[in-house]
């Protein structure tokens, strides 16, 4: 008898799982937007700040090291400072594009597309 009960319970299990999944996905769409929103507020400032600082510091550090090695002070420091700053900005920009805060295709970047990225 117990086996019959189990069979009946399992008979529509697939269907029930599918229904539950669909339901969860429908809810999940809203959740996804919320999650992106919170990610935007929480880690963004520090992450972008670190990307900028690391770019500049790495550029200057590499420039100073190469200058003292090759004896070309201060030209490589200046050059790599500029390139490092650009690289830091590029990384920060890419991070902002990734989290969907700015439109990479030259939109207004007013946050209209938040949560899409």
């Amino acid at each position: 008898m117990a086996d019959d009960d189990h069979d009946r319970a399992f008979a529509d299990l697939d269907q029930r799982i599918r229904a539950a999944r669909d339901q969860r996905e429908a809810v999940g769409k809203g959740d996804g937007a919320d999650r992106n929103q919170s990610k935007l507020n929480f880690g963004t400032g520090l992450t972008v700040g670190i990307e900028l600082v690391v770019g500049v510091v790495a550029g200057v550090g590499l420039g100073l090291a190469l200058d003292s090695w090759l004896g070309t002070r201060p030209f490589l420091t200046i050059l790599l400072f500029l390139l490092g700053t650009a690289a830091g900005m590029l990384n920060a920009w890419r991070h902002l594009v990734r989290i969907g805060m700015v439109d990479p295709h030259g939109g207004k970047g007013d946050g209209q597309d938040r949560g899409s990225g």
């Binding site: 929480f42 880690g43 520090l46 992450t47 670190i50 990307e51 690391v54 770019g55 790495a58 550029g59 590499l62 790599l80 390139l83 490092g84 650009a86 690289a87 830091g88 590029l90 990384n91 990734r98």
Partner: protein, 240 residues
């Protein structure tokens, strides 16, 4: 008041010296071993009696598995699942290291930049090697932005190369700074509790709130490290 930086001092437990190299077994090594044992123990215990309807422990392990699998599929694509074991291990190691570091008297090895940098540079070197293994010399084209004017390429390629090479630095600095700053802040506020006597309840309340905040940070930083690893993996596999 207690020195807030004192907690980061490395103490050798078993001094080992090989040919002038200090290979001592420190409290940092000990906590790494505890972290590995805890993560391994959780996964092994959770999958010991694999049941159709999971118990609590099995649910935790399955949740962790599905979380990382989803992360890889979303950020690195289906091909990234080949590297699931490495990424799952990385995530569990950082997560458990961060979380166990919040236990009083514990040592947080992720608050040392050499530890986070070792992890980041390993990820960076392996993923770069993977990129060259998959695409051969063609992977060098990754550094030439698509659709850029020819005259700009001598300027853009060095910028791309630098921006690629600072990845392990920003990856490790982010984790290390968050963990160190959090633990310093906790220590400073905890120091006020005894210093203020009867009014110590105010910093005590702040410390409790900060500890809750640090639990979030501990998870978030492990998550960010893993997501960025997946994104770099995506770059190596797909080259955009």
């Amino acid at each position: 008041m207690a020195d807030p930086l004192h907690q980061f001092v490395i103490n050798p437990l078993v001094p080992i010296n090989v040919a002038g190299l200090d290979l001592s077994f420190t409290q940092s090594s000990l906590w790494m071993m505890i972290t590995v044992a805890a993560a391994y123990g959780l996964v092994m215990l959770g999958t010991k009696h694999a049941a159709l309807i999971p118990g609590r422990l099995q649910s935790v392990v399955e949740l962790a598995y599905e979380f990382i699998a989803g992360l890889i599929k979303d950020n690195a694509g289906r091909e990234g699942m080949r590297y699931f074991p490495a990424i799952f291990t990385l995530f569990m190691f950082i997560l458990f290291g961060n979380m166990l570091g919040l236990v009083p008297m514990a040592f947080t090895f992720t608050s040392h930049i050499i530890v986070t940098f070792a992890m980041a540079i390993t990820v960076f070197v392996l993923i770069t090697a993977l990129g060259f293994a998959i695409h051969g010399a063609h992977f060098a084209h990754f550094f030439v932005p698509a659709g850029a004017p020819k005259a700009m390429i001598p300027l853009l390629v060095p910028i791309e190369i630098i921006s690629y090479c600072v990845r392990p630095i920003s990856l490790s600095v982010r984790l290390f700074v968050n963990m160190m700053a959090g633990h310093m802040m906790l220590k400073v506020f905890a120091g006020f509790v005894t210093a203020l006597g009867i009014f110590g309840f105010a910093p005590l309340a702040v410390t409790v709130a900060l500890l809750g905040f640090e639990v979030v940070v501990a998870f978030l930083q492990a998550y960010i490290f893993t997501v960025l690893t997946c994104i770099y993996l995506h770059d190596a596999i797909h080259m955009h």
